[in-house]
Symmetry: C2
């Protein structure tokens, strides 16, 4: 029944924390995730995560399509968030608390994505406010870029860099994130 899994990792120090956040249904929805990320202070001095970014985080990891997050997904997210936060601080070279477009270009390229200048430009415009990229939007951008790239690669069996998308599949992949 809800909250009781076989093989629950009871010795894992994060397990009791997870169950407290998840509540009775044993899974974390976007409101619960937002509250928990705000409380853990993972944003540090940056603004707390928006509900939209929390939804994107859950969608990225939601392999069983429940729109909720289980324990393993929760741990995976914390690992990714810590990496992104370190990257954000590293690429914010002028310590302005935001990543500027030229800093973001370096960050995206350093993550290994091979995209054109035009595509990078579109991404910068979409995620910046008055020419600055805040941590919340930075994470939303990283999550989406990772999820869309994974989606693409799963279909690119021959590794040709080109995928045939039927309309329905295209909409499913892109609307869910």
């Amino acid at each position: 029944y809800p909250g009781c899994f076989s093989g629950a990792p009871v010795n894992d120090p994060m397990w009791s924390y997870f169950t407290a956040v998840a509540g009775q249904d044993g899974e974390i929805d976007s409101e619960e995730l937002q509250r928990c990320l705000t409380q853990t202070g993972i944003s540090g001095t940056y603004s707390p995560f928006s509900i939209e970014t929390c939804r994107i985080m859950i969608a990225m990891l939601d392999r069983d399509m429940t729109s909720k997050m289980g324990f393993n997904e929760f741990k995976e997210l914390f690992g990714a968030l810590n990496v992104w936060k370190q990257n954000f601080m590293m690429f914010d070279q002028d310590r302005s608390g935001t990543v500027e477009p030229h800093e973001m270009s370096q960050a995206v390229l350093s993550m290994g994505y091979r995209i054109s200048a035009q595509t990078l430009n579109g991404i910068l415009k979409r995620y910046s406010k008055n020419g600055r990229i805040f941590f919340d939007d930075y994470v939303a951008c990283c999550v989406k870029l990772r999820a869309l790239t994974e989606t693409f690669k799963r279909r690119d069996n021959m590794q040709q860099g080109v995928v045939n998308f039927p309309y329905d599949d295209f909409i499913m992949c892109t609307m869910a994130i």
Copy 2:
């Protein structure tokens, strides 16, 4: 120079309104759009639009990739918003102020999108909160579905329902919205 276009539609009653909202640069960014949509009361008794939905609205119409909105795009948006609002009220048959998943299914199908039950299900999960879809998310969903479908159709020259996406093009189309 900014704010002064040749052929400005000075006799259009919306023109002076547009220039007031747009300010000195003659274009509307997401913050300006959010303020203006809140003031016009187009959301009615529903919550005001989130900044995220405002960004999606601008991205949908942003053919010149400036992340800002000119006068014609502004008028187009108001037209689309009025249609979506009417649809939302019509499909909210139990007058709960939100559209429930079965109401949303009808709404999406009535807009003429041919998508599978699985894809529809993914969309419903992504845009609902506790099983209810609020007006703000409804509009974000409509905007994205329309923009992604247009993007797909522009590439589906033979109208075969299948498009070959190179990786960079796929990322550009999907990250910008």
